[in-house]
Symmetry: C2
Subunit: 155 residues, 2 copies
Amino acid sequence: MNNSLSYSHLVDRIKDAGVRPSNVRVHILKYLEEHSHPTAEQIYTALRETMPTLSLASVYNTATALAEAGLIRVLGMNGAGVHYDCNTHQHAHFQCELCGKIFDMDMPGIDCPGLEGFNVKKMDLRFWGVCPHCDALAQAATGLYFGESEEDEKQ
Amino acid sequence: MNNSLSYSHLVDRIKDAGVRPSNVRVHILKYLEEHSHPTAEQIYTALRETMPTLSLASVYNTATALAEAGLIRVLGMNGAGVHYDCNTHQHAHFQCELCGKIFDMDMPGIDCPGLEGFNVKKMDLRFWGVCPHCDALAQAATGLYFGESEEDEKQ
DNA sequence: CATCTCCTTGGAATGATTATAAATACATTA
DNA sequence: TAATGTATTTATAATCATTCCAAGGAGATG
């Protein structure tokens, strides 16, 4: 069991970042720790079940506040809507064009010629394509791999 | 004088891409060749002067068509609105947080560990920060560089 | 308990983009 | 050149994510 997901630990993390640990904030951060790269809408829909008065505006407000405090990161993958990411370390992203899933990748060292003289403060590296799971399914569907049993769907 | 900007050359390029060289298409591509990373709104405003009936919808439709034909590229820098880029070669971008200008950068070689098994089809590398010109202005404004004359504004 | 501030809410407003339907231009054939 | 069919463009309405705003609520402080 990962202690970083416990309620009191989350409260501490939020406090340490200089933000008041309100209910909504803790729950949204908790949700982000437990779910990969959700959108505001997804957070809203999921948390509404246990917090019936939660508003979408609060999700946006809160996510923005958490991002400004450096607790989470805002991720635009160019689909409709923005995703939130509790992994604030420098890292890259891959999005599968078939299942839509977003994967974290280690950030490779980047030595960009021509960037001398530019004061770089933020960097973003993103990939799109087909993830291994969907790739296997796609290849099976082409009929190239007769006799292969379908892989089990796993979230 | 760069021949690639001539009207008939543009017509040929559009034809070669399998798209009919309509007036709107040629003018929008021409505008993109001559201006760096404009938004749909900017294209619309600029071209309206010589094409008074041009509609914003046409700019979006046309840009999308040109992008699908591989003649231009759509660039989301996460500000409001999308930018269009006539440079279709693989390259990175830097956006200045002060002047908003977008600069093309050579794409460095990227060796991303963890990407094995992923079928990568598209990659995007973006930087934000302060460009050399604004950096100089900002440093002058802090008063650290007494006696420095302001640099001339150049687009 | 009184007060102050910050948080949350619901709904309206905004802004970029897309959809739709009518009008126009273009290309082809007669 | 006129007729016809198709592709393009236009104007406007619709959509969707996000932000704004005003009012109510919760918690801390005195």
